[in-house]
Amino acid sequence: MSQTLAPDAAAAAADAAPIVSVTGLGHVYPSREGPVHALADISLEVGQGKFVVIVGPSGCGKSSLLMMLAGLRHQSEGAILCDGRPMSDPDPDRVGVVFQEANLFPWLTAIENVAFPLALRKVPRAERQARAAAMLELVGLADARGRYPHELSGGMKQRVSIARGLVQNPKVLLMDEPFAALDEQTRMAMGEELLRIWSETGKTVVFVTHSLTEAVYLADEVLVMSARPGRIIDRVAVPLPRPRTYAMMASPVFGALRERIWQQIRASAR
């Protein structure tokens, strides 16, 4: 098992204090065929303001890992610290979540969906409206505030979902394959849009995806996970400059990084 830490990855991790830190995380759950080792020996650090992408074969537990970072699931061993404190329960002040399907509430308008986390916290109505409107503006949907989810396209729904994830001004945004259900073109456009939002807000992003191209295009660092039990088998720093452009996808560096990640995943899945 290669645990090679690329020198530039180490440098990237060191230049900022980690906002998320995971040490010795493992997860075992019972099933009819006996205990299933889903995740094993996972340690990682995410520096403030970084964009970290987790990739791995289907069923490697990368989504489970993300749900644990969100405090929505509990690991059987190891520790997760976010902003210096354990994540034992969901805490929207520290962590916002964007799910695979946008999962908007169909009975609420776009702006009501964005304001939902604030309504839970009993933020006064006027402030709720103002903050939700500002978030819709940020994701480029200022005109769609009164529309219901069934009146929005897939990409627009995901924008609303991102706005909802950011509305409490969390330190970290966790994204679980947010663009997986979108078509190729929308997906590319959303990736670009996400990078713009990320650079404007300075949030730390942890992003799970199946797509290697998406991973290299978005990330400062790509964490590669093995098949079950999921371990981190490679940490790939992406030295491409920012802002990223589509043209970079054709560059030799991009291709080499993608190839390296693909080889790791292929080897681990065998």
Binding site: A70, L72, D89, P90, D91, P92, V97, F99, E101, N103, F105, P106, W107, F116, P117, A119, L120, R121, Y148, P149, H150, R164, Q168
Partner: protein, 250 residues
């Protein structure tokens, strides 16, 4: 087809049906003794509606229906929630409820009369018995229509169990619950009127039965018109609320 054309079409259809009703006895095709013309029935309805005794009958029937729904709605909803939330209870009780749901409730009416007499509460009880299973089944269906990922999202944003019930379960369930309410009112109305027709001293059902037995066809048809208007108004009111709360379901 635009909205105005649809409305015009509906008006034509209604006028045609009422016109046929009017024409059949007038032209001697139907016996006016058996089928009084629409205008006669409508005039009789208006004239009867002005009478305090008939209003009292309408009021009794309405109260019985309201009482039956007021009892069946919370009871059925509560039982439905229990069954939908508890896998174990559902597995035990589901067959029993499906059996009871499928049996025509009218065959139990004599037992209600034997045990409870022919007063107000007997009709209410029979109304409850006839509607509670509908409410129960729609409440259970409503709970099962709540999407787990919506609950998950709410949890991710720190919702408490009460907030999840109020902000996720209730709006998800409301359209189906209202549909259940609408069906409950329809079946409850049927049950109450049936109980009144079978054995009673008051209520519209009792009057309709006795007008029929005494061959007072204009009054019988007038009663049918009055009850139809009430049923349609109630039904459409609930449907309007349903549409407002369920516009997002598509």
């Amino acid at each position: 087809m635009n909205h105005a054309a649809v409305l015009a079409g509906r008006a034509v259809l209604a006028a045609a049906l009422l016109g046929i009703w009017e024409a059949l006895p007038r032209l001697g095709i139907a016996d006016p003794e058996l089928l009084p013309p629409f205008t006669v029935a409508a005039a009789t309805a208006l004239e009867m509606f002005a009478r305090p005794s008939l209003r009292a009958d309408l009021w009794v029937t309405t109260l019985e229906l309201l009482a039956a729904v007021a009892i069946a709605l919370p009871a059925g909803t509560l039982l439905g929630l229990l069954l939908a939330e508890s896998e174990r209870l559902a597995r035990i009780f589901d067959p029993l409820i499906f059996f009871l749901f499928s049996i025509p409730k009218s065959i139990f009416l004599p037992m209600f009369i034997l045990t409870m007499g022919i007063g107000f509460w007997q009709k209410v009880a029979f109304g409850v018995f006839s509607t509670v299973f509908i409410v129960l089944m729609s409440a259970a269906a409503a709970v099962r229509s709540v999407r787990p990922d919506h609950v998950f999202v709410a949890r991710a944003f720190g919702a408490s169990p009460v907030q999840i019930a109020w902000r996720v379960y209730l709006p998800s369930m409301l359209p189906i619950l209202l549909e259940g309410l609408r069906l409950a009112v329809i079946f409850g109305f049927t049950a109450v009127l049936l109980a009144e027709m079978y054995a009673s001293r008051t209520g519209m059902g009792h009057q309709i039965a006795s007008w029929g037995e005494n061959f007072m066809m204009d009054r019988l048809f007038a009663g049918v018109l009055l009850l139809s208007v009430i049923a349609i108004v109630v039904n459409e009111t609930i449907r309007a609320v349903e549409a407002r709360c369920g516009h997002w379901r598509q």
